[in-house]
Amino acid sequence: MLGGYLGPLVIIALNLVGATIAGVAGRLVRVSVLLTLPIAISVVLVSVFTRAGTTVLFTIGPFDATAEGVDFAAQTLVRLLAIALSIGLFGMTTDPRAFVLDLERRRLSPRFAFVALATLEAVPAMVERAGVIQASQRARGLDTEGSLRARVRGVVPLAGPVILSSLTEVEERSLALEVRAFGRPGRRHLLWRNPDSTAQLVARAALLLLLVGSIVGKVTGAFPQTP
């Protein structure tokens, strides 16, 4: 009976246990539900009313809501939630710099590490810059508050400087990195490593085995198939 639900529900339970231990359970559930909500609404609407089935629960106009559609929508939702909780828990409990530098220690290219971290840093940097530019534009009389029309009009003189200054900054930053031999081929010695306990090693090995087992189970048909 729990065929299509068991796996995702186990993952959700494990995530919630981990989040509770890390003290982020409330925030994790809130963020995950908010993130999955737009997709969840469309999945429910499309699945419940368009999925072919024999048991009609109710009818709205030309659309029949079937029990099979509800079941499919529910299975999809628990899977979405499992994915959102997993990604959310990872994001809330892992320092991105520590993560990427640890990957570099495990032979990831320094260039990839830079791209990953620079991307993470780019968004708050752009938001900060946009704030400064917005303040200076407002000081010169630009109306960025008030009606929707005024706000939309205010976007153009804001977006141009933000984008252009970001591009200039990227160019200067890449030059500064080149000066510091960033493009030099070969490996570099890292200054520190993340603490890695035996328990973490065992947990990683168990997760790896679980991953391989899941793929094998899926390929061989040992797991229940998606309806």
């Binding site: 971290l117 900054e169 500064a176 000066v179 510091r180 493009g183 030099r184």
Partner: protein
């Protein structure tokens, strides 16, 4: 020795050359100041002398860049990194973005050079001590004041221990104390044999640390000589470069017709304050 000979440089897509027939030599242990009005070509000269143009910034270069007797034409930027480095005026764009602490930020260059960890740590500590930023070594580089960020950016360059250092307005965001600190660090570097080219509007800094000043205008070298002579040259004013306070005070004393002995005492007092 770093030597530019007959160098002209035109950025890709531009009709006019930004540098024209520039000859410039930096001897080992020499600190040369580079002054000139806006758009004179100072920053471009810094980029060309560091080998970044045209290696990383596309354009047409004629003439030669020679470092320690070896021509640098066709060399990749990272191949030049252990010989010559260049610092830019905006410290925020020099931040790598991948370091969690100031220590790691300063250590990035030595790491990239493939050095062993003890060597990286020793270079990093020495560079931080030179600019007295040990107290902020565990701070997030993204959360520093402009002055602190500028000192970190300079330390990050010095940790690479290049033979030649080029700095484009290194004290743009520094207060007078920070500017003096950088001046002291540059003097120490030069005493160790490093040659330095400093493009700077603050002629007071140059007056204190440079042995030679080069003034550039319209992409050509307009003045080149001992620091004391060039900084007191009236032609410098005509280029839009403000002479250092010492020179301006001397001129004011001369114009006011104050007794030379009093003027000498004032000059001594100025030197002591500087």
């Amino acid at each position: 020795m770093l030597e530019l000979k007959g160098v002209s440089y035109r950025y890709a897509g531009y009709a006019k050359a930004v540098l024209q027939e520039v000859d410039l030599t930096l001897a080992d242990g020499e600190i040369v100041g580079l002054v000139g009005p806006n758009e004179a070509g100072k920053s471009t000269l810094c980029l060309v002398a560091a080998g970044l143009a045209p290696a990383s910034i596309k354009g047409a270069l004629t003439g030669t860049l020679t470092i320690d007797g070896e021509p640098m034409a066709g060399r990749k930027t990272h191949e030049l990194a252990s010989r010559v480095v260049v610092g830019f005026q905006n410290p925020n764009t020099q931040r790598s973005g991948i370091a969690a602490t100031v220590f790691e930020e300063v250590a990035l260059g030595p790491q990239n050079l493939g050095l062993d960890v003890p060597e990286i740590v020793e270079r990093t500590r020495t560079a931080m001590a030179l600019l007295r930023i040990e107290a902020i070594q565990l701070r997030d580089p993204a959360r520093l004041s402009g002055g602190q960020a500028q000192l970190v950016a300079i330390a990050a360059l010095l940790a690479m221990r290049p033979r030649h250092v080029i700095l484009d307005e290194p004290t743009a965001q520094l207060d007078p104390a920070g500017t003096r600190l950088v001046g002291e660090a540059l003097r120490q570097l030069a005493a160790g044999g490093t040659s330095l080219l400093i493009a700077e509007h603050k002629t007071d800094l140059l007056d204190g640390v440079c042995s030679r000043i080069v003034a550039i205008d319209g992409g050509r070298i307009a003045l080149d000589g001992p620091a004391g002579d060039v900084l007191a040259d009236p032609r410098l004013d005509a280029l839009g470069v403000q002479p250092p306070s010492r020179v301006r005070l001397q001129r004011a004393i001369d114009e006011a017709g104050i007794d030379p002995r009093t003027a000498a005492a004032a000059a001594q007092a100025m030197a002591a304050v500087a």
